[in-house]
């Protein structure tokens, strides 16, 4: 069977070679540390979104949820005067709750997750703005670094580690860890088998005793958990959060997962692939300014990668279903 991430691997190597040949900054260790940064926060989300897509669902609220969790951390810490870790805990509980509600609604109603999470997306977008204005009278939460507990939180979420003379953000290490963990779960555990089965054909999965509903709900909660992690990282790193944080990113996560080989119809894909998709995104986003090109080319490039990936994935699906009779 063709590995889902094969196309993304070839793509990542090609993109790296393209920029590395032309830009010395791009291929320097400092340059690499720079483009790994946007890849890391996107990658953490893309891995979770890939698991969800393999399980047969979309989560359009994943982007805005990054904002919701970051704002919650900020508001609970600064407006309610709580220790930052308390705020981070509250934010996690809230995220898991929203993930659960998404999953519960989708599995209960049988409606497409696309439309259910579009609803939660819009609701959260409104809440993010409304509540931020209500509490701070502005559209920004600031002063997160003045709260007790900040030093420890900064160490966990926003420190830098020196690797080969370059300062690498710790999010890059978290990203690698989460990718490895997700790959292990998908390929080496019972739950992973259930994810593929639920996304492949949930009626067939249920017939042989797979708890398809529970699997879907856990996947929605995992995506929400990833959004919490990235949201907290942003809040701690930037020490202030805009009320519109994360909006629009949900499609970028899906783009990364699809470039990584996830089928839109579910049942096929990989966590490593999604991470490679995020890597391509990071390399392109910084590679284009390194070459002194106009930044507008970035989206053209991303769109072209997406189209190529979808065409490639179509061939995979055809191959796997070639001999139906």
């Amino acid at each position: 069977m063709v590995k889902p991430e094969l196309g993304a691997l070839v793509g990542a190597i090609a993109v790296f070679a393209f920029f590395a040949v032309q830009s010395e900054t791009f291929r320097s260790t400092r340059g690499i540390a720079n483009w790994l940064d946007p890849a890391s926060t996107l990658g953490i989300m893309a891995v979770a979104v890939a698991l969800l897509m393999i399980g047969g669902h979309f989560d359009l609220s994943a982007g805005v949820l990054v904002g919701t969790t970051a704002l919650t951390v900020g508001i609970v810490a600064t407006e309610f005067g709580q220790n930052l870790w308390v705020a981070i805990g509250v934010s996690l509980v809230l995220a898991l709750l929203i993930g659960f509600v998404n999953g519960w609604l989708v599995t209960r109603t049988g409606l497409p997750s696309f439309i259910i999470t579009l609803g939660t997306f819009l609701m959260l977008q409104g809440l993010n703005l409304g509540l931020t204005k209500l509490f701070t009278s502005t559209v920004t939460v600031t002063g997160i670094d003045d709260v007790p507990g900040y030093a420890a939180a900064e160490w966990v979420f926003a420190s830098r580690v020196e690797i080969l003379g370059a300062e690498v953000r710790i999010a890059v290490l978290w990203w690698l860890l989460f990718t490895a963990l997700a790959t292990w779960v998908l390929l080496r555990t019972r739950f992973g088998n259930w994810v593929f089965a639920t996304g492949g054909d949930d009626a067939a999965a249920r017939n042989v005793g797979v708890p398809a509903r529970r699997t879907s709900i856990v996947l929605f909660m995992t995506t929400a958990g990833a959004a919490w992690f990235v949201g907290t990282t942003l809040a701690v790193r930037l020490t202030s959060v805009q009320a519109n944080t994360g909006i629009g990113q949900e499609l970028i996560y899906i783009v990364a997962a699809v470039i990584g080989g996830c089928l839109l119809t579910g049942g096929f894909g990989s966590a490593i692939g999604a991470s490679l998709g995020a890597l391509i995104f990071g390399m392109t986003q910084l590679g284009i300014p390194y070459l002194r090109w106009d930044a507008d080319w970035f989206y053209f490039f991303l769109g072209a990668m997406l189209l190529l990936a979808v065409l490639g994935n179509r061939l995979v699906r055809r191959y796997a279903e070639a001999a139906r009779r």
Binding site: M1, R188, T189, N193, G200, A203, N207, G209, L263, E321
Partner: protein, 268 residues
């Protein structure tokens, strides 16, 4: 091949006594009696709307019967959920819903009952064992697969049904219910599946083969239950009925004669 010796006085594996089921005011099934013995194939034949699906749903625990009795090893049972039927050793293989096309054969084979090793957070799916068992079990059924890692979608329809049958047998099915296993298949592929039905039978499984094709049922069946619009036209042992009679009854007997008459060329 030796068939397990069964004395006819043994309590049958599964016995249906006057089963009936209503959907609201519609009588879907009424007065259905049949027996399923270990190492035998009981065929359930009927046209569309004859009540075959309702019967499967009662046997596999999806629905409860409203009337009559279901006996397993001579003792009355009523299944409240598919899981209960499965735990009692009654496995159902559905026509289109048996396998996940994009998943590897060995992943499909153990889906929902994955063997694990390790403990606590390190408990994991034992893939090596799963691959081994899959290869061995399929070989024991005479199913030759090239590579257990290939996706099920690359198998032919007949092979897919066969793998599903092998899976049910491996997981200890004593009664195997096959829902129209040959209906979507060509002649050759249907032959492949019927061969594995016979294999399962020879391993001592009681098979319930549901079909609307008497030509598939007759060679492999030991007894035949004929359904028409929710009623039984009778249960026949193979020695009591010929293929022609089966076909005629199946097609509605007199109705078919009337149709033949109607279709005759004018002037003949």
């Amino acid at each position: 091949m030796t068939r397990p010796l069964m004395t006819r006085d043994d309590a049958p594996l599964l016995e249906l006594r006057d089963l009936g089921k209503d959907y609201g005011s519609v009588i879907a099934l009424d007065g259905i009696s049949a027996t399923v013995r270990a190492g035998e194939v009981t065929c359930v034949l009927g046209d569309n709307g004859a009540g075959k699906s309702t019967l499967i749903k009662i046997l596999s625990g999806v629905h409860r019967a409203d009337r009559g009795e279901l006996l397993l090893d001579g003792a009355p049972v009523a299944f409240g959920a598919p899981r209960e039927a499965l735990d009692a050793g009654i496995a159902t293989v559905y026509q289109d819903l048996a396998m996940i096309p994009l998943m590897a054969i060995w992943r499909n084979f153990f889906l929902g009952a994955e063997p694990t090793k390790g403990w606590g957070p390190f408990r994991r799916f034992d893939g090596a064992q799963a691959r081994d068992v899959t290869r061995r079990e399929l070989a024991a059924m005479g199913i030759d697969i090239r590579d257990p890692d290939q996706p099920v979608g690359t198998l032919s329809g007949g092979e897919r049904q066969s793998v599903a049958i092998a899976r049910a047998v491996y997981f200890g099915a004593r009664v195997l219910i096959l829902d129209e296993p040959t209906s979507a298949l060509g002649v050759k592929q249907a032959g492949v599946v019927l061969r594995y039905v016979a294999q399962a039978r020879d391993r001592g499984v009681g098979v319930v083969l549901i079909t609307h094709n008497p030509h598939h049922a007759y060679p492999v069946g030991d007894r035949f239950l004929l359904l028409n619009r929710g009623r039984s036209l009778g249960e026949f042992a193979k020695e009591d009925i010929s293929r022609e009679e089966l076909t005629r009854l199946m097609a509605g007997g007199a109705e078919l004669d009337a149709l033949a008459h109607e279709l005759e060329r004018p002037g003949n």
